[in-house]
């Protein structure tokens, strides 16, 4: 009998505000420990939280982008727990009246479209970070992250496989990036997801105990963790040990490649939620929602369609471009400056992505100027440099940010297109390779390739390949 997997996702996203949720401290990632703190975010006695308007606006924007109902009245609550990462010993969050409820997004897995419902989106503050010292009896705390604004997006349990769940997170990530709500960097923790997984027999109505898994920092880890958990549960049920699947939270240990139990329902916290008395009810009117709606830029779905219609890119190309917002933007800007859409897509998805990967850079950190790339493409088109040289020039542009022309001039890379000049090289090569000439005439056409290679070597790749081939063919004919 077949099994069915049921997955719901809880996603925490850091909002792209300049300052924290309740004070004016900056939210920049990677600053020296505790350099971005003040009495308010450190929860010093007597200080009070004041809600950053920008947080409310971004949460509304997220709600609109994910087709949610926006609640014109919502409130903040306190979630009480003792842990040193929380300097007030409570997290200010939203409990029973979140800012957005009931949204949905469409995902596509193996060509099939599916709607995933969103239960709610609520606003909350992030906690600090504990740094456990190896072989030291103490731990350190970095409070830079405390008070960084978050939204938590809770889906319904609508996903039926780890692939669907990953696709849901990818789609959501790309919507949030496009709408400018978050930079969604999983590796920096600005997008964190927890998955709730249970399995049941196909046809069974009631749900079995669900397990929450945490601590997956990349899509790769996410799918691995979910597949592993799915397998663990299936095995337990299959071997009559279904009672061992209990409602619990498990942490994904990427090193060991398995999930490890963190806490069960019995030792779950009683968070003693109650309305935050320091922050009045959040009220706003329709006008604000409408003005925010107008500010939402083109979202991925619409962009995909446009890329297909306008630039005639393949589905695969579109997927990669749209999947990386800054990259897609770079692409469009380059096309606007004057690049041929299809050709520049090849460059961006090929050489550029490869270099970004090697240098461990993000799509937002592309060091090449759009106009320089356009210039480079023109130089190829006019035959001033060969495609091979262009690759070298491109790499140099990437590393030194220089203009292509100055690189070419500096290194003397201009294509040799003068017929006389080329002829000299060609004759020299023919003279030095009589065997190849003989082979060619004997019917071994591949000897032509060898000779071309020798010419390129002699000209350090600067020979115009088209022209070289023409002259070479002619000369060989003549020698016959």
């Amino acid at each position: 009998m077949a099994w069915e997997t049921i997955i719901g996702m809880e996603i925490h996203v850091e909002l792209a505000t300049k300052s924290k949720i309740f004070c004016s401290c900056p939210t920049t990632f990677g600053a020296p420990p505790n350099s971005q703190t003040c009495p308010v975010c450190l929860g010093l006695p007597g200080t009070l939280p004041v809600l950053n308007d920008e947080v409310v606006k971004l949460a509304i924007k997220a709600g609109l982008a994910l087709n949610c109902d926006i609640n014109l009245s919502s409130k903040m609550d306190r979630k009480n727990y003792f842990y040193p990462d929380s300097p007030k010993a409570y997290q200010i969050s939203q409990y029973d009246l979140p800012i957005c409820s009931g949204g949905r997004i469409e995902i596509e897995v193996e060509g099939k479209k599916k709607e995933i419902r969103i239960n709610r989106i609520h606003i909350e503050e992030d906690a600090g970070k504990l740094i456990h010292m190896v072989e030291e009896p103490h731990s350190l705390i970095d409070y830079n992250r405390v008070g960084v604004p978050l939204i938590e997006i809770v889906s319904e349990a609508d996903m039926r496989s780890p692939q669907e769940a990953v696709e849901y997170v990818k789609t959501l990530k790309s919507i949030l990036e496009y709408a400018g709500i978050s930079d969604c960097r999983m590796e920096q923790g600005s997008l964190r997801c927890d998955a709730n997984i249970s399995i049941r027999r196909v046809g069974q109505e009631e749900l079995n105990s669900k397990v929450e898994i945490k601590n997956m920092n990349s899509f790769k880890e996410l799918i691995k963790a979910m597949e592993k958990e799915e397998k663990r549960q299936r095995e337990l049920y299959s071997f009559g040990e279904g009672h061992k699947v209990i409602q619990e939270t498990r942490r994904w240990d990427s090193g060991k490649g398995r999930t490890v139990s963190m806490r069960t329902k019995e030792d779950a916290h009683d968070y003693r939620y109650f309305p935050e008395p320091d922050i009045p009810t959040i009220h706003f009117n329709r006008n604000l929602v409408e003005s925010i709606e107008k500010m939402i830029p083109e979202l991925p779905e619409a962009k995909k369609k446009r890329f297909k219609d306008f630039y005639q890119l393949t589905d695969k190309e579109i997927e990669i471009l749209i999947g990386d917002k800054p990259l897609a933007e770079f692409y469009e800007r380059t096309v606007k400056v004057g690049a041929e859409p299809k050709i520049v897509a090849n460059w961006i998805l090929g050489d550029l992505l490869k270099l970004l990967k090697v240098e461990e850079l993000q799509g937002s950190e592309i060091p090449i100027k759009e106009k320089d790339l356009v210039e480079l493409l023109k130089l190829i088109e006019t035959g001033e440099i060969s495609g091979k040289i262009a690759k070298e020039v491109f790499e140099t542009m990437f590393k030194t940010r220089e203009e292509p022309k100055s690189i070419i001039a500096k290194r003397g890379l201009t294509q040799i297109s003068g017929e006389e000049q080329l002829e000299r090289y060609i004759l020299e090569v023919l003279e030095n390779n009589p065997q190849s000439v003989e082979d060619y005439h004997g019917g071994k056409k591949q000897a032509m390739g060898y000779l071309m290679g020798q010419i390129m070597k002699a000209t350090q790749g600067q020979a115009n390949p088209q022209l070289t081939k023409e002259i070479l063919t002619m000369k060989l004919q003549n020698l016959k």
Binding site: G46, T47, V50, P84, D270, P277, D278, P280
Partner: protein, 491 residues
Amino acid sequence: MELRTMSIDEIVTGIKNRKIKAQELIETIYKKIDEVDPILQGYLTLCKEEALKQAKQIDEKAMKGEKLGKLAGVPVAIKDNICTDGVLTTCGSKMLEDFIPPYDATVVKKLKEEGAIIIGKTNMDEFAMGSSNENSAFKATKNPWDIKRVPGGSSGGSAAVVAAGMAPLSLGSDTGGSIRQPAAFCGVVGLKPTYGLVSRFGLIAFASSLDQIGPIATNVKDCALSLEVLQGHDPMDATSVREEVKGNYLEEIEKGIEGFRIGVPIDLLKGGLNEEISKAIEGSIENLKELGAIVEEITLPIVDEGLSAYYIISSAEASSNLARFDGIRYGYRPKQFESVEDLMERSRTEAFGEEVKRRIMLGTYALSSGYYDAYYNKAQKIRDKIQKQYEALFNDYDLIVTPTTPTLPFLQGEKINDPMEMYLGDIFTISANLAKIPALSMPCGFSKEGLPIGLQIIGGAFKEDKILRAAYKLEQKLQVTKNVSVGKEGI
């Protein structure tokens, strides 16, 4: 120079006219403190050096004829749960025995901007929980009228130092009567403003939805003047009034109360109230009538349930507000501990007093899953009901008058082992906090033994002007403090 009889207005005018030197005034205050405070125990920390420096600057400004603030040279005592930049702020607790905030509370900033001089921090019940100052971790302040008796609490220190002439003005905080009850016990005027009129930024929270800072002074006008300085929107406190308030209380204060409709809960004056208090209140009511007010009998919103609701809500909020004191970042920390949990547990076990622990337990219980609806939620519903009932009452009445306390100042040790008895003392004061409305306590007479009796005037939200007008006229008419010398056991 006898400070007890000198008003803030007299001080400020004197300094402006260079009849009084701020430095001399401050010296005189500290001399008085040296003399009286060893017995009274009102202050926890003194800031003499800084105060004299400030005074010198004020004198220099006065000499040069520069513009001086509304409170230029006025010595002010601050309750020790209100943060003062660079000055110890302990909340009367071992937990914060070494806590020096790196910021001023907004009220302190405002006082300083108007030229007031902070002379010291006053004793209080630990974290403002208590009605006798016996819950302070450091000392028990005595009542200046009879040193065997308590000064009330939790702002007992702030009330006692004003009553004993050790400061003409002090700040207290009031969560369920903590300004008004000690003001009544010490024979001074104390005002709890409308929730939100005065910023709470820098007030170490007890119960955030009830706490409010207010002035304690020897007379009504001084309260009015200081409220003008303290009030207003604060971008650092989201619960402070949104719009700019411009209550010109002093301008209004002389207007009288001709035609004011005043409600009095007569039934409360009869059932179980101390007879001397009852008589003093009745006498004041007659005076209010003579001043032109129309006095009518009313029934106060649910009183007993209000008391329960108050203790549930305030304790619930306190359990959360006090959770941050875990020994990790600041405050008390034991020398030895096994783990981070052990560190938190020991810090809290060793540094919190009995009453604070009692309220944390009570509040934690009231918020626990399974009990939330029966306690916290129900208490909130009662609070809403009380709020609505007061709103309705203030549609018909300008003011409501009650006693501030059901008893006279009690003896030290008399109630400390009976928390219920202690809590019942708040019966008249808590509803103003629950309903977020302003209320003032003023002396309206003395018992045969010479103990002060407090009268409470409650107004509608942001109707401090009406309260102050009535209080001022009544004060003028009663002249209580002028005719009474301090009781035989007093200072």
